[in-house]
């Protein structure tokens, strides 16, 4: 990621924080606290599957770095494509407010110029 940033966006500054594989609520709290301390508003998260999405976003909301309208969260395609649309959200709940506008960057199968054939 550092190499790609250097090549495509040399003026971008990156800070990285690890979340353990078998993460606990305390791990999320510490990770989100670190992200909050950077004051960055564009956050790219790489999580495993779908299980980490909800606790991470709720913790981020509780610490004021998600659902504010100013912070924008991006996920890699390690997040299951079913993680966000595969559930319903209680209106005005922390998870619903934090999830609106979240994006996922994913690699796509297919060839350039044949976009319409690539969607499954």
């Amino acid at each position: 990621m550092q190499k790609a940033a250097g090549e495509y966006a040399s003026d971008m500054s990156l800070r990285v924080i690890d979340i353990p594989f078998d993460s606990t609520a305390e791990d999320f709290e510490q990770a989100v606290s670190f992200v909050k301390s950077t004051q960055y508003r564009y956050i790219f998260a790489v999580v495993e599957g779908a299980k980490d999405f909800n606790p991470l976003m709720i913790e981020a909301y509780n610490q004021g770095i998600a659902g504010t309208g100013k912070h924008n969260w991006f996920y890699s395609d390690s997040l299951s494509p079913n993680a966000v649309p595969g559930q319903t959200y209680e209106p005005n709940s922390p998870l619903q407010k934090a999830t609106i506008g979240v994006s996922m960057l994913r690699a796509m199968p297919g060839l350039p110029g044949h976009r319409h054939t690539m969607h499954y």
Binding site: K3, A4, Y8, Q39, Y40, R41, Y42, A50, A66, G67, T68, G69, K70, H71, N72, W73, F74, D77, S80, P81, N82, A83, V84, P85, G86, T88, Y89, E90, P91, Q96, A98, T99, I100, G101, V102, S103, M104, L105, R106, A107, M108, P109, G110, L111, P112, G113, R115, M118, H119, Y120
Partner: protein, 254 residues
């Protein structure tokens, strides 16, 4: 088994296929060129040097990191937005919207990206910087000018007193010329408080520059005047007390 497993699999299966082909092609290339036996390092080095047209485009791997070069693959930015209406249980659905597609080395917009604030406006990456100009402030300025005014008034008053009583015995003994020089020096030093009270909250840049440049003139001139008078007076006292004869002598101010 969770249906999501198959959802994931459909998306990654072409990449899995290409990965398998890359591993196989690399092994074939080693076998055809040298020996039937090779270790993992040799295999890996051959994989990162293998290029072919796969199901997901041209497969080119970065030799340093071993990952696929971004320009050889397609990427999509999926934006999750709130679906209109509500689900059957009264809750809300969030649905994917394909916002950007990365192909041929550049991003192409498909649909406008909707951020968390519900707009497509790109937010700054860091909070807005609030600049503290550290102005003096009205209260402090008024307090400083009032004290400055008091000192100026005292200087004028003591100066007038000295001139008025310059022929009296006491003032004469105190040497009025030095007293007036001392008062004049303090008056000038005190005047420097007025330009020091200027900042760009109340004055233009040009006004602030003039005020700034007047300060050293007023301060240095006033300091020199007052301390010249004090030093001269000390010199006279020193000359009188260290006189060998201790005879009456008359000293002049130039």
């Amino acid at each position: 088994m969770d249906d999501a497993f198959f959802e994931d699999l459909r998306l990654v299966s072409p990449f899995l296929y290409d990965s398998t082909i890359a591993v196989g092609l690399a092994a074939c290339n080693i076998s055809s060129s040298s020996t039937d036996f090779f270790d993992g390092r040799t295999h890996y080095n051959q994989i990162v040097n293998t290029q072919f047209e796969g199901t997901t485009g041209s497969i080119i791997l970065d030799k340093e990191t071993g990952t696929r070069t971004p320009s050889s693959a397609l990427f999509e930015l999926v934006n999750y937005v709130q679906a209109p209406g509500k689900a059957e249980n009264g809750e809300l659905n969030i649905v994917p919207s394909n916002s950007y597609l990365f192909q041929n080395g550049q991003w192409n917009e498909l649909t406008p990206m909707i951020f968390n604030d519900g707009t497509s406006d790109i937010q700054p990456g860091l909070p807005e910087i609030t600049l503290d100009r550290n102005y003096i402030g009205t209260g402090l300025r008024v307090a400083g000018l009032v004290m400055c005014g008091i000192v100026l008034a005292l200087c004028i008053g003591f100066g007038a007193f000295t001139v008025y009583h310059r022929n009296t015995r006491t003032i004469k003994a105190s040497q009025p010329i030095f007293l007036l020089l001392l008062i004049g020096g303090i008056f000038l030093m005190d005047l420097s408080i007025i330009p020091l009270s200027f900042d760009d909250e109340i004055a233009s840049d040009k006004g602030c520059s003039i005020a700034c440049m007047s300060v050293p003139w007023l301060l240095c001139t006033g300091f020199s005047m007052s301390f010249a008078a004090l030093s001269s007076k000390l010199r006279r006292i020193n000359k009188l007390f260290n006189s060998a004869s201790m005879r009456r002598s008359k000293l002049y101010v130039l």
